[in-house]
Symmetry: D2
Subunit: 374 residues, 4 copies
């Protein structure tokens, strides 16, 4: 028996020891982009999930290993279907398609009973005006109904809601790096005067947003610039979820009501780095007076209970190289006077997308949360 089979179990190998349980086939709708590729790559090492159906309108009919040579040896004969091809009954679905495609597909998938993790931005914002303004899309009655079911898939703050959910909306890459540290501040958020998030992303994070263009080598290499200043679609997402449970306790946090979602105002500026993977976020907190004396200790403690958050002794120790190709978020901070600087780093394709999606599906299917991600 080869290692490939043991790590990517085909149906005939379902006689596995009881401690790990049966493997579950899943569908990846939108498997031809950076995120879809990453989902397939990560599932190769997953003990309980394996792809059984993959779609890409661009690659319809082509073999997986032909499109992605690095996945050769693990394709189990998979070929790409169109996004609208019929799905195996009841399989969990990862959606890694453009926003408008998600908006159209999700209601039917939920109706048909599929567990769904949607990686688009279509089911994150409760503020309808912000959604229309930033995404240039409007909810249909069906998608609005789906939205009311959606759980924001950030286990660090909504783990209990994700467990058992049918529909999880996976966070955006920038929000992942910003919301987690802000939410971890807990009640202290009430004492913030200003929050400035300066985020820098590799092209795999920025490049999905094709409306921005400019990804030819000579426009990125040995270059650096900001984009979508004061207008990025992730800003309201950060503002909504960073405010969850505030003013609050450390107890359970629920999804916001659609009527009056809370908000923690932030100034958010994304930038494009001349590299492929990773987002580093520099988060400046200016406090009304001074921060809690035990701020660092509290954050360290909060991080310790999380399997994918690593607290670093200094903010300078947080760097992309340590998190690339992992599902970790690294976090460090320093305070001086009324200012705290928090730095976080993630791999935008993993913790910021495909890895977090698998973490969510693990919770939805009652698998160990870390399965396939360590």
């Amino acid at each position: 028996m080869s290692a490939a089979n043991s790590s990517n179990p085909a149906p005939e190998t379902q006689n596995r020891e009881s401690s790990s349980g049966d493997a579950v086939p899943v569908a990846v709708i939108g498997a031809g982009g950076f995120t879809g590729h990453e989902l397939l790559t990560l599932m190769r090492a997953h003990p309980r999930l394996y792809p059984v159906h993959i779609t890409s309108n661009a690659y319809e009919g082509r073999r997986l290993s032909d499109v992605f040579p690095d996945l050769d040896g693990a394709d189990n004969g998979l070929t790409f279907s169109r996004h609208d091809a019929p799905l195996p009954d009841g399989v969990p679905v990862f959606l890694a398609v453009p926003n408008d495609t998600s908006l159209a597909l999700v209601p039917d998938l939920l109706q048909a009973g599929h567990p769904v993790v949607d990686l688009s931005g279509s089911f994150r914002l409760h503020d309808g005006r912000a959604f229309e303004e930033r995404y240039k899309l409007k909810h249909t009655p069906a998608s609005a109904a789906a939205m009311s079911q959606a759980v924001f898939g950030m286990p660090e703050i909504l783990r209990d809601s994700i467990r058992g959910a049918q529909f999880v909306s996976n966070p955006g890459c920038f929000p992942t790096g910003a919301v987690i540290p802000l939410a971890f501040l807990g009640a202290a958020r009430q004492d913030l005067q200003s929050v400035v998030v300066d985020a820098k992303s590799g092209v795999s994070g920025a490049g999905g947003r094709t409306e921005d263009g400019g990804f030819v080598f000579h426009k990125v290499h040995e270059n650096f610039r900001a984009y979508k200043i004061l207008g990025h679609q992730h800003q309201p997402e950060i503002e909504e979820y960073a405010a969850l449970g505030m003013p609050g306790t450390t107890g359970a946090i629920a999804m916001p009501s659609a009527e009056a979602p809370p908000t923690l105002p932030v100034v958010f500026t994304p930038h494009l780095l001349p590299l492929f993977r990773g987002i580093l976020s520099t988060i400046v907190l200016i406090w009304k007076s001074t921060p809690p004396a035990d701020l660092a200790e509290r954050l360290r403690h909060r991080c310790e209970s999380e399997p994918f958050i690593r607290f670093r002794d200094t903010p300078e120790a947080v760097e992309l190289a340590s998190v690339q190709n992992t599902n970790y978020l690294d976090l460090g901070l320093r305070t001086s006077g009324n200012t705290t600087v928090i730095v976080t780093a993630i791999d935008n394709l993993i913790k910021g997308a495909a890895g977090q999606a698998i973490q969510n599906l693990n919770l939805m299917l009652d698998f160990p949360e870390t399965a396939g991600l360590l």
Copy 2:
């Protein structure tokens, strides 16, 4: 006559047309580093300046073109001396040496009558405590006396003081990208609640600071990180000079008094980019209420009178690629509500160091300010 001779005039070609005037020989003390190399490169195209004396303790006795093959053909037989070698009488001096070396050398150079442009950080801070804390150095009586003579070499805000000065302290690279836009705000600075400067530098800007280390290829390439968070030596420099003339008029600005230098508090975070040249600064202004309605127009107007500042229509159009290998600072901004985001870009080795130094010497010697820099 070859082009080399016409752009890098040797003494025997001093019979030039009166409109350009005689060429002046200069000394570069510390010509072996990134900045020294850049000074020599820029002077090749300068109609009035040419190097006659270059020093480097590491390269003592070696030919210029042997150490820097790209400068071959223009060395006029120059070889490196030690920093303490005797200088030709009265020649203007560029100092591109470590802070402690500048501190020791400047008093004697001034005493001997040399015009001096110092590119170290030793003569910028009037706040003695900040100087000791950030630079781990103390002024001697002689260097303190030199300090009282120093003019901060930022022509955009202190042009009149630089003209005719004997001693100019050239601004730091990060302060160049931050102070200029802040000073241009004029009286509006009084209405600022918070200023956050998030700056990103290529290795040639960060690498001079050898105390930071970590510049091996595999630690920089495909990586990104912040450094010296809330402790960089350029923060007090920004705070002091960004406050010049505030609360103020648009009239002449003088050097600050040593007793009570003004200060405009900023949160400053430098980062290391995986590229060689350039600093992009993202400057978030949070206003007490709202900014002046004509803020952008005023800044555009202010920039138009400056030969090396270019106002861009959008802040997204400001990028490193447009300023690399030039003496320009590009600037763009956007306001929403009580927030303004200004983005600036410079070539840290040119506008942030060698180019600005030449711009200063041009003013000191009553040459056209742009000579050799366009």
Copy 3:
């Protein structure tokens, strides 16, 4: 049970299904460098091997996850010992230390009964003069005896000799990319007039060779150069092993005799690429007349039986991106007249070092050859 435990089995989880067998603890001597790090990374996904003893004189006493944050969560409490710390009885040993350290350590390890895979260059060359000239080292009687036991660890040409061997000398990274395609030519090698191997490596391949220096970011980024022209230590290694079994049949190939190793002369030029991982080798074959008409077909056929060699339809389809982070060697070729150009690509740290070492240990321990590598 977590995924980490299942893929990196600790002793208490030895009750596994019979098809996979017990897990084996191994030692990594020299675990602090690029190659050691890669061995530890790969073993995390290996179903049968796990590190129990790791050494690094530089990191003595430090925790694995402290030195390599990306390996956090998988260190099982491992800390670095010194190279000469006592080993657990009989454990298989990976040696990833400098050449002279391997030369000194191997004889005792063999004597003590450890299975050994040595990743240094000390036990590859049978031509003593070439060894002394290129490595500036001389064999001792003990190391010469070890040399006589050594099997060159290239499964594609010496699989049967590796099975059951106690001592495998792992091939160099450049030889891996060159020897495999040349050996696959079989009897046709007799008809070659000239072989020119032009190889380009990322810094992780070239950087181990510290005698070469020059790996500061600004000397590598946006730069390219050749090194050790007509003098690299991998040239005689290529020449010796590319000749194995020639003039020959397709049958079993044995290790060369020390007395008169065969040789296939090649011109070998290594270059340094501004990237981290991968070696692309452009191999020009000039035939005495014309190559066998079915050359491409024969090579394709030969590759198909190999689990880690992928034959590409065109040589332009061979690129570093497809092999990075894999144990594959990709190969493509084109012939015109009396010239054939073969292009191969490998990840120098995996197929060129750590991956091939694990492939060898898999064979030595009678595990599936691909275990942990797909």
Copy 4:
């Protein structure tokens, strides 16, 4: 008077000292690409040439400084016309347009009396079959007549023919790095058995050839590959011009006859580097027996008389960083037995295109050959 005016003379400043002479206005047809941009950049520092007419069908009607912000301050109000806009009478013309556009435009330009330097590949190959096969183009009677006038613009081997020529066909970038060292071998070329040229180019060299595609950041960064193996259009160009004057003397070399152009067979493989500027060529010479004992000395001597060729003491000292942004070709070599390895490096946009074009126009207009290029 500003430095800009002095280096980029407008008509009103023609009263210059007699030693430099009047400045000449030129046209750049195809000024919107990499090469056109480089021509305009170089002319800013040229004492005798300035652009008066620039064309680009894509940028028609736009200001130069709007399209290329880095050229701001030097545009003299220039705006782009279409390629077919009427030209000022008799101005010298640089053509930096696609091959088929050059083929169509050159005959009329010559007819109208313009001195022409064509940077396309349309007028280089005398072997009509190779031209049709590699360029997918056919000469018209008019272009064939132009071809008979064309002088290959490589001053190092055809300087006397270029002086006074009306029509110069500028060499390809790869041929520049390969032909010069091969031609310099002189009579020794007769003793060569094989020549293998392995060339590696930054994207600005490879990217012009849009038929190749694949220049998105993530396909180039951290990647490397060969392209157009055994089929690149520059191979016959190298073979034709590397043979000029062979078997020969060191005397004058004339353009080849169209009937039977000589040829020196080479195996040529181009590769794409993850960087912007520069071509490094590794040229392996395999001699029938051994090379002339004084080969290195002869080459050094031959290089010394050339203003833009620098002989390096070792081939490892030849690197892209030393030649980027210069018009130099650096060259080094090493011989062992019957093998010589020559390494050359150029900036493909300068010595490989725009710089060499200006060097040619300098010769055609009887300016100093190095004007504007040092």
